[in-house]
Symmetry: C2
Subunit: 234 residues, 2 copies
């Protein structure tokens, strides 16, 4: 009886697509692959695949990303479910999009390259298949909004980072430049970053202190209803 009710409805494919933003000291990038099956074989595409029977949406997104790029243990956040009837020309498919932000350097660039994936500047994205451009636009919008409320969404940050790096990242996300002193004051006044004793000398002789995100403090702050607003400023 109950089962019948369920059976009378359409069963369809559920896809997952991953939008991976990367940052390095040159700006915001987007990871794409050449699609290796029809239709649109050979065109640039987000990392996508289909949901399997025994996995949740979150799990499937992680698996697909790993299969296609070798990337592992990436924090993926759900963006939106895309469900226009004609979005996939082969067969009715709904796609749940996920996005992430990663440090380009901190992940094995070779591995990613071996999988046929490439980084593109966010200002220079090639034509994408299906509705993938709309997905990227939505993800960028979301990333910006998220960055204005937390230090970029701590789940999206590497474990340790310097303030100049973080500033470059913000400048990439908002496509603007920021005042160093004001940036520091504001980001530190959120009081969720912890200074370590280590310095990173990658970008300068002097070196910049590495900071960690204080997850415990952050969660306290949020459960107290604090807002942690960070508006992009000139």
């Amino acid at each position: 009886m109950s089962t019948e009710y369920y059976r009378n409805h359409a069963h369809l494919l559920v896809a997952l697509d991953c939008i991976i933003f990367g940052f390095d000291n040159e700006g915001l990038k987007l990871l794409l692959i050449k699609r290796d099956f029809e239709p649109e074989k050979g065109k640039w595409s987000l990392m996508g695949g289909f949901l399997g029977k025994g996995e949740s949406l979150d799990e499937a997104a992680g698996r697909i990303l790993n299969n296609l790029t070798g990337l592992q243990n990436i924090y993926l956040e759900q963006l939106h479910a895309f469900g226009e009837v004609e979005r996939d020309p082969v067969e009715r498919t709904i796609s749940v999009a996920y996005y992430a932000l990663i440090d380009v350097q901190a992940h094995d660039k070779e591995l990613v390259k071996q999988h046929g994936a490439s980084w593109f500047s966010i200002h220079d994205v090639p034509e994408l298949i299906f509705d993938h451009q709309a997905m990227v636009n939505a993800a960028l919008k979301r990333l910006r909004r998220k960055a204005s409320h937390q230090p970029v969404g701590f789940e999206l940050l590497p474990e340790k980072f310097t303030l100049p790096e973080l500033q470059k990242l913000y400048e990439g996300i908002y496509d603007t430049s920021l005042d160093k002193r004001n940036f520091r004051r504001r980001i530190l006044s959120m009081d969720v970053l912890v200074k370590t004793e280590e310095k990173l000398k990658k970008y300068s002789k002097k070196g910049a202190y590495l900071y960690k995100f204080d997850q415990k403090k952050y969660k306290e702050r949020v459960s107290n209803g604090d807002s942690l607003v960070f508006k992009p400023i000139k």
Copy 2:
């Protein structure tokens, strides 16, 4: 060839669930129905149903809400796709949740009642089926966040409303009380509300001016990157 690739993947049910928040001058409410099929028949549930072949997710959500409550032309916003493997005990189903905020009075209360739907205070929600409580929690969180950036998300507002009504709504959403003068100043300083000449005398003898949302100005504001932050204040 391509079609085969598609066929080798699981096809499954896609459900939609609608979280309808209502406001009147007593606070925030939630609309629920008694589920009329197994499993969990007779328990309280969100308005849910399955995606049909020829309709987009957005369309299906609207149709389902209309079928179950008689409500029409409600602006539904997508919340999140819920996809845990065991979330529906009968069969693997993913559910895309939508939410809306409506004026309880402005919609036909009788019609809704005839459909077996009831309003519950947000402080007094009965036990819900499946993962519906998690959906409600997520929707409330989202509504609060949204309200802090726009006058509640203009799509969710009725066409005309008074400032005292809007204030009551905010107080319901944030479950707090606000200073009348500060509230007015802040909401008006966003400069997206337009005063009309009409007064609403429903709640007082003097009557309060009705305002409209200025969609054009709002879009300009957003595309200029303005942030329109509204922090809840004591």
